[in-house]
């Protein structure tokens, strides 16, 4: 098993309003089988033993599905490996002697809480505006009453696999949340259950996205490139189509 010696350059920031700066930490004997976050665990245990404050970073499931973790590693959201959330990135992607820079998601809509931890509650407020089908508990018909072709079901599923990590925002030069919002809009566009509310949903979610301070999409495609779940940028095209149709139909202004 090969061991690595690394130099870590990590963003430290005491709180949302405090100024932040990069700090350098050497770390020796890193195993290639460690996950990236386990490598940071090792650093933190060392810092605590030395009487220093550990680096705060957020995480939960550590299996790439909860969407809690997210670091900009060497300038790339979630790091060098495609289709991989930070917690699933393993140290075998790096080599002995590497210098690794680690920063938080940077976007006005995601203020820093501490060090590498950011506040992504803006996403919840967007979902609250329409990221669902309005159906009260108990009023559903039999599940097999409405057949849905496998192709549409699969496309809906693909869009629905978004984990809400925010990498798309972090990677976008405009800090747009379009990939996130469009994934939800697309899921319900492919499914008949989503149709009764389709205009209302897209208009309200997009409006909330703007209100939260996310930027506009200008087709850079950085979001798709870093998405750990491979959410396609085609969803943004679907969202735009839905938005235009809804705006024309309801007479809402297109901004």
């Amino acid at each position: 098993m090969s061991k690595m010696n690394l130099t870590l350059k990590i963003w430290r920031q005491a709180s949302a309003n405090a100024p932040g700066a990069m700090e350098t930490y050497p770390l020796a004997d890193v195993s290639e089988h460690m996950s990236f976050l386990e490598m940071l665990d090792v650093l933190n245990e060392k810092l605590i033993k030395e009487g220093k404050e550990p680096v705060e970073f957020d995480y939960d499931c550590r299996e790439g599905i909860c969407g809690t973790c997210g670091l900009v590693i060497n300038g790339v959201a979630h790091g060098p490996r495609k289709l991989t959330a930070t917690c699933q990135l393993h140290m075998r992607e790096f080599k002995n002697g590497d210098t690794i820079t680690i920063e938080p998601w940077r976007a006005n809509a995601f203020p820093v809480i501490k060090d590498l931890v950011v506040d992504r509650t803006a996403f919840d407020r967007i979902v609250a505006k329409g990221g669902y089908v309005s159906v009260n508990t108990g009023s559903a018909r039999d599940a097999n009453e409405t057949p849905i072709g496998k192709e549409d079901a699969d496309k809906a599923f693909d869009a629905a696999t978004c984990i809400s990590c925010g990498a798309c925002v972090a990677a976008c030069p405009n800090a747009s949340a379009s990939l996130f919002v469009s994934a939800k809009v697309s899921q319900y566009t492919y499914l008949p259950q989503g149709h009764p509310e389709r205009e209302r949903r897209v208009l309200k979610m997009v409006s909330q996205m703007d209100d939260e301070g996310f930027g506009n999409c200008s087709n850079h495609g950085e979001c798709e490139a870093v998405c750990p779940k491979g959410i396609s940028i085609q969803n943004i095209a679907i969202m735009r189509r839905e938005y235009v149709k809804a705006a024309l139909k309801t007479g809402s202004a297109i901004v």
């Binding site: 499931c61 159906v135 009260n136 599923f157 696999t161």
Partner: protein
Amino acid sequence: MTISNLKEGADLKGVQPDGPLAQKWDSYKAKAKVVNPANKRKYTVLVIGTGLAGASAAASLAELGYKVKAFCIQDSPRRAHSIAAQGGINAAKNYQNDGDSIWRLFYDTIKGGDYRSRESNVHRLAQVSVSIIDQCVAQGVPFARDYGGLLSNRSFGGSLVSRTFYARGQTGQQLLLGAYGAMMRQVDAGKVELLTHREMLDLVTVDGQAKGVIIRNLKTGEMESYAGDAVLLCTGGYGNVYYLSTNAMNSNVTAAWRCHRRGAYFANPCFTQIHPTCIPVSGDYQSKLTLMSESLRNDGRVWVPKTQELAARVRKGEVKPSDIAEEDRDYYLERRYPTFGNLVPRDVASRNAKYVCDEGRGVGESGLAVYLDFAEAINRLGMSVVKDRYDNLFEMYERITGENPYHTPMRIFPAVHYTMGGLWVDYNLMTTVPGLYALGEANFSDHGANRLGASALMQGLADGYFVIPYTIGDYLAGAKPVDIKDTDSAPFREARAGIEAQVQKLMNVKGTKTVTEFHRELGLKMWDYVGMSRSEAGLKQILTEIPKLREEFWQNVRIPGTENGWNKNLEFALRVADFLELGELMARDALVREESCGGHFREEYQTEDGEALRNDEKYAYAAAWEFTGNPSEPVLHKEQLEFENVQLAQRSYK
């Protein structure tokens, strides 16, 4: 009795509705009190945790008109660990025409739980299972479908019918997003107040009834008080007492344990589930274990080399698994259990993996792994079918291990996954503290001594969507609404002061060992003595070790930073403090239960061929433990389980 200082209290009884089993739930609903629609908004329900149980309960209660406050420790409710459930959700739809029924799902669940669960609760679970699928499809949950557009099913362990609905390997995610969406719709409507980054640290009782909670704001470090008419604990299981488990890192027992300290009995804590198909440990830096869905056992074949010599050569890397001839392989599950084969229940599969590794036939560097092989499935079904079914799981395996399971068999080993034990609840899902409910994995009610695959999602959603909306009305209809602004009365002040003092005490220790070091040490002991197999000697040993470790923790833990603001180490320290008490209760419960059943395997009680040997005469009860002020002196209350509809039998999957 092997432990001399065991104290026993009065027996417990769950509420038992009238009538034959199949009519109990209808009979209950017909007679339950309901709250007038205009009065519902006068009641506030505090929902702790926003996984499947919490989100579905919060949404459903708000739809009914109750005021709801929903709390979660994460930055978003959608991150609750239900999100990570992979395989599926059971429902007795019988869409496959293969003989499924509510009765069969009920029977499979009771049998799978090794006859240690309550008949009436389990039957209700099977009944409402069918409505869950309807509800989720109506919400736009993208379940897997056939080309004809109808829902697809797969099989899971412990069942002979195909009743598991799934969304590729991400069923929990899709179900949670459905429930989360339903809840967020109520947030938008102003009926649910969502409070994220909040951890419950105490229950406030007034005249013995649950009337509020003390919450730590994880962003600011402030203590906050909330009053309500009922508290729903939807906080999941306690598997992280083992340090390494498939639980999320933040999953913990703290809210439930603090309720236990306030009077809620804790039932069957020793019933833990060790899942057979997880990625093996790779080093001492390991922070968690990753599950590979049980659905893989539909097509994967479990094997080890036939001889120790061959296994030793595999471990050294001299022989590759693909080079081992068929006759030199032991497909031990297929050999020992021809009827169920690779689809035996989880406890049986895990124990057998342990046996073959104990025999020296394990693989991988550590020898603590067995193979799960897809070569035969790829030959039979073709690569594209296997890819369609399992690709995301295969990719995850490859990311973690660096090995490609399409070409070489997966290495798997059992890991702690789920806890069947939890707060004791009656038929209403109410704990022994009136007004305090426990839903989903946080309660003990439905899975007995072993949970069947794809039943956790079913139970979480059953409790939240279809049980609590009925049972809570029966309680609130008789209660006077509280003044939610009144959080400065003596019970709130005292609880808050107690928690603030505990935080101060922890911060002031300034010792030399980190929280993680204590947690890891506790976890190793739990795995060794209260893990896949337990013995009287081992349990007695750990019962002397845990109190010492707990004492050391309070004298020597080092928590960096301050209590004001974000401090992950402080969060974990508060949780580890509770795990250090729970661990002892688990060991005591395991010692008192002198039988083997489900996930609880006592070495002294086994059949000649190594199967679990139950003792129905003495132990057909749920063990509900009362906290007495001293974690080493709990009082045992028994709920005798009455089986009127199923015949107790030695479980056989042969």
